[in-house]
């Protein structure tokens, strides 16, 4: 494991800024117990502690059933942990709020609203004037590559287009943290790649904090500053790995970069080892 850089407690921005990154989200000894149908308790998350620095792109990587989405829902305030606490800028998270914007694998668009209506929904809810909300939303729709589709209904769009709308809809109300729950998991490989590239371009512009749940090693390494590896039954943090690759990242350069390849291979190997050690499910 020596090839993987030692864990650093601080994520240093590739930009020359020298100020230490400050924590925006703290997850403090969070455990989650679910009742299964057989009335047996299932420990989905066990004693998770994690700090996420402002402006960082952090991926939570793990096999399905390791509780990684649950962890994201706890940060979102959609699920309350059985014990422990999550905090946003020092404030305990008890419910959802516009400072944490979710993007779901299922898109969860409002089907009765057009693309423009969906994107404008958040700003309008925040009290932004209609004309201003529309102008901002149109700009966002253009940014995610859907100019010309403003008046289409979700039903008329492909999966990739729907996820672009969902991203624009969340960015529209300016959350401080983006919570992305396997956002590209339902898309075909080609569409997935295009959306990863576009997300990276958008992110490299304004460097919002992103918490990104995925089960794809390539995706996690390609996008992230930091990869949190989880193991399952119960869900625990196995390893936190800093991805020390230059930005802006370009896929065609990165795929040929031995450092990128090494991260991918090392992480995959670590998962394989844990599979052999633990019960394979």
């Amino acid at each position: 494991m020596t090839a993987v850089p030692a864990r650093s407690s601080e994520w240093v921005r590739p930009v020359t800024s020298q100020e230490p990154a400050s924590a925006i989200i703290e997850i403090d000894h969070v455990s989650q117990v679910f009742q299964t149908s057989a009335r047996k308790d299932h420990l989905a998350l066990s004693e998770i502690s994690l700090t996420i620095e402002e402006g960082a792109f952090v991926s939570i990587l793990g096999p399905s059933g390791c509780g990684k989405s649950t962890l994201l829902y706890i940060v979102g305030g959609f699920v309350n942990p059985t014990s422990g606490a999550a905090r946003m800028k020092g404030q305990a998270i008890t419910r959802p709020g516009p400072d944490r914007g979710p993007v779901f694998q299922e898109f969860a668009l409002f089907p009765w609203k057009t693309v423009l209506g969906n994107v404008m929904y958040g700003p309008r809810q925040q009290g932004v004037r209609a004309s201003e909300a529309e102008a901002q939303s149109r700009a966002l729709i253009e940014m995610v590559g859907l100019k010309g589709y403003e008046h289409f209904y979700p039903k008329e769009l492909s999966g990739g287009m729907k996820q672009r709308v969902a991203l624009a809809r969340t960015l529209a109300y300016h959350p401080e943290v983006l919570l992305m729950d396997e956002p590209f998991g339902a898309l075909d490989a080609h569409t997935r790649t295009r959306l990863q590239n576009d997300l990276l371009n958008i992110w490299e512009r304004d460097r919002k904090t992103v918490l990104f749940v995925t089960h794809s090693v390539d995706e996690a390494v390609f996008l992230s500053d930091k990869v949190v590896m989880m193991s399952k039954s119960p869900g625990r943090i196995r390893e936190v790995i800093d991805i020390d690759l230059p930005r802006p990242r370009r896929r065609n350069e990165l795929l040929l970069d031995p450092r990128y390849q090494k991260y991918v291979v090392d992480i995959e190997r670590m998962f394989d080892e844990s599979d052999e050690a633990g019960p394979a499910l």
Binding site: F104, Y153, G160
Partner: protein
């Protein structure tokens, strides 16, 4: 210019009506039964009914009760069904109650209601209300239950309160299902309207029909059946147009998604 196929499709309901009347006419001529007038005799009796002030007042009274019963039922049933769909405790409270009421023919309750509230408008409107409520509650409940959790979470993240989510997310998301329930309810309103007037004979379209039956005026009986049937067809057609407009976003003509990532 309409293509022949379109022309045929558009005129299909009219052709069906004409066909039905032709079969009726033929059957009546063959059977030669006094209580089975021909279609032409029945149609000839329609202007007499619609030209009679007394009859018109009766029919309008029926329609008023139907509109009131339907309107109040929809206004109460939609929120109740939506709440049941989103709250386990509300559903647990109302479900057993509704399960008991559901299979009971609402007209069977009329004697008791008449005993309590008399034979007037209140009783008849209440029976219509009961008949309409259950399908609307049921479909609103099912529609609300099916709303995607993540859609509600997205709304919550934008700052919508639980009440706002119910009105601004659950209601529109469940609207196609709700309107299906309302369409069933509308037809049931017409049925219970006539049934209630059959039991409590005092005024209304059903009253004209059954008075004519008592007096052996079979052409009037059949004319009323045509009138009531035509009203049902018209209400349903109008409602269907409104419905299709309101839920255009969910209609299957959009099922072919564009292909581009």
């Amino acid at each position: 210019m309409m293509s022949p196929a379109t022309l045929l499709r558009r005129s299909a309901p009219v052709l069906a009506c004409i066909g039905l009347l032709a079969v009726w006419q033929a059957a009546s001529l063959v059977l030669k039964n006094d209580s089975f007038p021909t279609a032409i005799e029945a149609i000839r009796a329609i202007p007499d009914i619609l030209g009679d002030k007394e009859s018109l007042i009766n029919i309008l009274a029926s329609l008023r009760r139907m509109a009131l019963g339907f309107g109040v039922a929809v206004l109460i049933s939609i929120p109740l069904g939506l709440l049941m769909g989103r709250s386990r405790s509300v559903a647990a409270f109302f479900n057993p109650l509704l399960m008991v009421i559901y299979p009971v023919p609402k007209a069977a309750l009329m004697p008791i209601i008449m005993l309590w509230l008399g034979v007037g408008d209140v009783t008849k409107t209440l029976v219509i209300f009961l008949g309409v409520s259950l399908p609307v509650i049921y479909h609103s409940f099912e529609g609300a239950k099916a709303v995607e959790e993540k859609m509600l979470w997205s709304g919550a993240a934008m700052g919508l309160s639980p009440a706002q989510r119910l009105v601004r997310i659950v209601l529109p998301a469940a609207l196609p299902e709700i309107l299906t329930g309302c369409r069933t309810g509308l037809v049931l309103a017409l049925i219970t309207m006539i049934t209630s007037e059959m039991i409590a004979r005092q005024s209304g379209a059903g009253n004209i029909l059954f008075n004519a039956l008592d007096m052996g005026q079979y052409d009037t009986v059949f004319a009323m059946i045509i009138i009531v049937g035509a009203m049902g067809i018209c209400f349903d057609a109008i409602f269907e147009r409104v419905r299709a407009r309101l839920v255009r976003w969910s209609e299957p003509q959009f099922d072919l998604p564009l292909s581009f990532s």
